[in-house]
């Protein structure tokens, strides 16, 4: 097992290195940075939804929370290292509390969806109504609809004047994504990850086997939130402004679409889905013939109807049919599991 993880990690590092090196030749690093950020955000939902079976309608809440935490802390501290860490920790703790409330209450699928949705709405409404001068945290005005511009952006640790931006930010974000991906791979290969998949498949059975289902789900949920928070902080650095729209339902919707299109239950599916769709949207933004939303909507409907597994599993199973390298049993298991959420187990 460990050995396989080692090989896996090595292959991942090499592929990532090549991709990070080649991509700027095709697309500008400014655009690439945001594609990476979205990839990380999609991965965060892919982890808890694809492997943990937790459908969170409010992943944007943690993304926004991370971005706001970073911005507020950066204004107050004036140096970016601690704010980056806070942007991971704050969403993590927030998700711990929210998750504990939901999972110890044994809420079902749809109810978890509703509660995460409602919490996102509360945050969005709240942040949107903080334009008044009374909403201040330290030196930072929350700014409501205006958002918070002009905070200290990423710098070399300990040296607030040497900024990491442009190409530097791109390489930093790419490295962060690779690290997160490695950690996720390691987590999924560990007993914790395997039990999480077990809980997704049959919660009752796992709890009868003596595992504390609520605690494990809460932790997984919080880990997803932490990754989303990191993505939020990177986004704040890229955009140089944070606005309430980070918390919006539209943002949450997009994350879900990325995961569905890319493929649930895979590590790369959500990332590929996010990067591909965000880039598509970016290209579509340059034409005015057809409204962008129409195309995003069509993509979602068509995927659910015709390719509910998403791109990556479809390609993998196509590969298997053609070259027969993996057992055929997996493909049928896949189809069966598709009933609610998706499914390829980690391999």
């Amino acid at each position: 097992m460990q050995n396989q993880f080692g090989r896996d990690a090595f292959a991942l590092l090499v592929t990532a290195g090549v991709l990070v090196w080649i991509a700027p030749l095709v697309i500008s690093t400014y655009t690439l940075t945001v594609l990476i950020v979205y990839g990380m955000l999609a991965l965060s939902l892919g982890l808890i939804w694809g492997y943990g079976g937790i459908l969170c309608f409010g992943q944007a809440a943690f993304f926004g929370l991370g971005a706001y935490t970073y911005a507020i802390a950066a204004i107050n501290i004036g140096e970016s290292t601690l704010p980056m860490l806070l942007a991971i920790i704050v969403p993590f703790i927030f998700a711990m509390m929210l998750g504990a409330m939901m999972f110890y209450g044994r809420l079902g699928d749809v109810y978890v969806g509703v509660i995460t949705l409602v919490v996102t709405l509360i945050l969005y409404r709240f942040i949107n109504s903080t334009a008044g001068p009374q909403f201040v945290l330290g030196k930072a005005r929350l700014g409501g609809f205006n958002g918070i511009p002009g905070f200290q952006t990423l710098n070399v640790p300990g040296n607030p004047d040497s900024y990491i931006w442009g190409d530097g930010l791109y390489y930093f974000a790419a490295a962060a994504l690779v690290v997160v991906l490695l950690l996720v791979s390691w987590l999924l290969a560990s007993p914790f990850g395997r039990i999480a998949v077990g809980i997704r498949e049959n919660e009752t059975r796992m709890s009868l086997m003596g595992y504390d289902v609520a605690a494990r789900k809460t932790l997984l949920f919080a880990l997803g939130a932490a990754i989303a928070g990191l993505a939020g902080a990177l986004f704040a650095n890229w955009a140089e402004i944070v606005t309430p729209s980070l918390f919006s339902l539209g943002q949450s919707a997009e994350i879900i679409i990325w995961c569905i299109a890319g493929g649930l239950g895979t590590r790369f599916g959500p990332i590929i889905g996010a990067a591909a769709l965000a880039y598509l949207k970016f290209l579509l933004g340059q034409q005015t013939l057809v409204d962008n939303t129409v195309i995003m909507g069509l993509i979602l409907v068509l995927f659910v109807l015709f390719l509910p597994k998403g791109i990556v599993p479809a390609v993998v199973s196509g590969w298997t049919t053609l070259f027969g390298r993996r057992g055929a049993g997996k493909a049928t298991a896949l189809r069966r599991n598709r009933a609610g959420r998706g499914a390829v187990s980690h391999g």
């Binding site: 459908l55 409330m101 939901m102 209450g105 044994r106 809420l107 079902g108 699928d109 749809v110 109810y111 969806g113 509703v114 509660i115 949705l117 409602v118 919490v119 709405l121 509360i122 409404r125 709240f126 109504s129 339902l249 539209g250 919707a253 879900i256 679409i257 569905i260 057809v290 409204d291 962008n292 939303t293 129409v294 195309i295 995003m296 909507g297 069509l298 993509i299 979602l300 409907v301 068509l302 995927f303 659910v304 109807l305 509910p308 009933a339 609610g340 959420r341």
Partner: protein
């Protein structure tokens, strides 16, 4: 005293509008266990249908109460045939597909009607209670909501159609064995649900104006109201709309409209934590 009356009307109006915006979703969810996330867009289309009809010279009440529901019902029918029927029994997939449909409709409406706020004037003028002025249109909305609840109750409880519908809702296989095609029942239900959404959108359009993205403002509220209501269709709808309507208006009056919105959302979280099956999952069991 006058003030009390004014606040009371506002609270009733708030409950009525929650019932209106949730009814379509509740029918579809209650009968088919399908959460239609394009519900808000059905409302938006109802609003546009009304405005287009009024601009063509149709009487505003006919436009709102007849044309809009039928138009949107037919659109719903098409959606059901093309998309939803392939996904029955897959709750999450239907949610995602209808989400896609909602985006599609927003985009199409933007292309057709543009992104500018449009609206029509309210057809009923205000009047005074003591020293206060009240929006007369509020009463119309309260009336429509009451007729709606009563109508739903009568159809479901007292007609043969309602009996079949309730039967199919509880045991689709038994209904099928008895010769009622579930496919046709679902189709009819979705038509009704969409028509109700269209009606709600049409009736609210004169008050709040309309942009293609208007639906987004309703879907979350409707979703919360329906889920919090729980399994019984009418009792659930009425009780959760009552609870949320009172909560939000009390906070809206005493603090600000924004506090009202947030209070509603917080109430929903607390409620779902305490009663994960919704209000009627604990009380009023077995009612329609």
């Amino acid at each position: 005293m006058d003030l009390f009356a004014v606040i009371l009307v506002e609270i009733l109006y708030s409950i009525a509008s929650l019932i209106l915006i949730s009814a379509g979703l509740a029918v579809v969810f209650g009968m088919m266990k399908v959460i239609n996330l394009a519900h808000g867009e059905f409302m938006m289309l109802g609003g546009y249908a009304t405005i287009v009809a009024v601009n063509q010279g149709v009487n505003v009440f006919i436009a709102m109460l007849v044309i809009a529901p039928i138009t949107v019902g037919l659109i719903g029918l098409v959606v059901e045939r093309l998309v939803i029927r392939h996904l029955y029994g897959r709750l999450v997939d239907t949610m995602l597909a209808t989400w896609g449909i909602s985006l599609l409709f927003i985009g199409l409406a933007t292309m057709i009607f543009g992104n500018t706020t449009t609206g029509i004037s309210t057809p009923i003028s205000g009047f005074s209670v003591g020293t206060y002025q009240i929006n007369g249109y509020n009463f119309f909305i309260i009336l429509v909501a009451m007729v709606l609840v009563l109508g739903l109750y009568i159809v479901l409880k007292l007609t043969r159609l309602g009996l079949i519908a309730r039967g199919a809702m509880q045991r689709a296989d038994m209904a099928a064995a008895l010769g009622y095609s579930p496919s046709r029942i679902y189709m009819a239900t979705f038509f009704c649900g969409a028509a109700l959404s269209g009606l709600a959108g049409a009736v609210l359009a004169p008050l709040v104006g309309l942009v293609p993205t208007s639906g987004g403002a309703y879907i979350a509220k409707a979703f919360i109201t329906v889920i919090a209501g729980g399994p019984s269709l009418i009792a659930g709808l009425a009780s959760s709309a009552g609870l949320f309507g009172v909560t939000s208006q009390v906070f809206a009056f005493s603090i600000s409209p924004m506090a009202g919105e947030i209070a509603l959302l917080v109430a929903a979280v607390v409620l779902l934590r305490l009663m994960p099956q919704g209000i009627t999952g604990r009380f009023f069991k077995g009612k329609v």
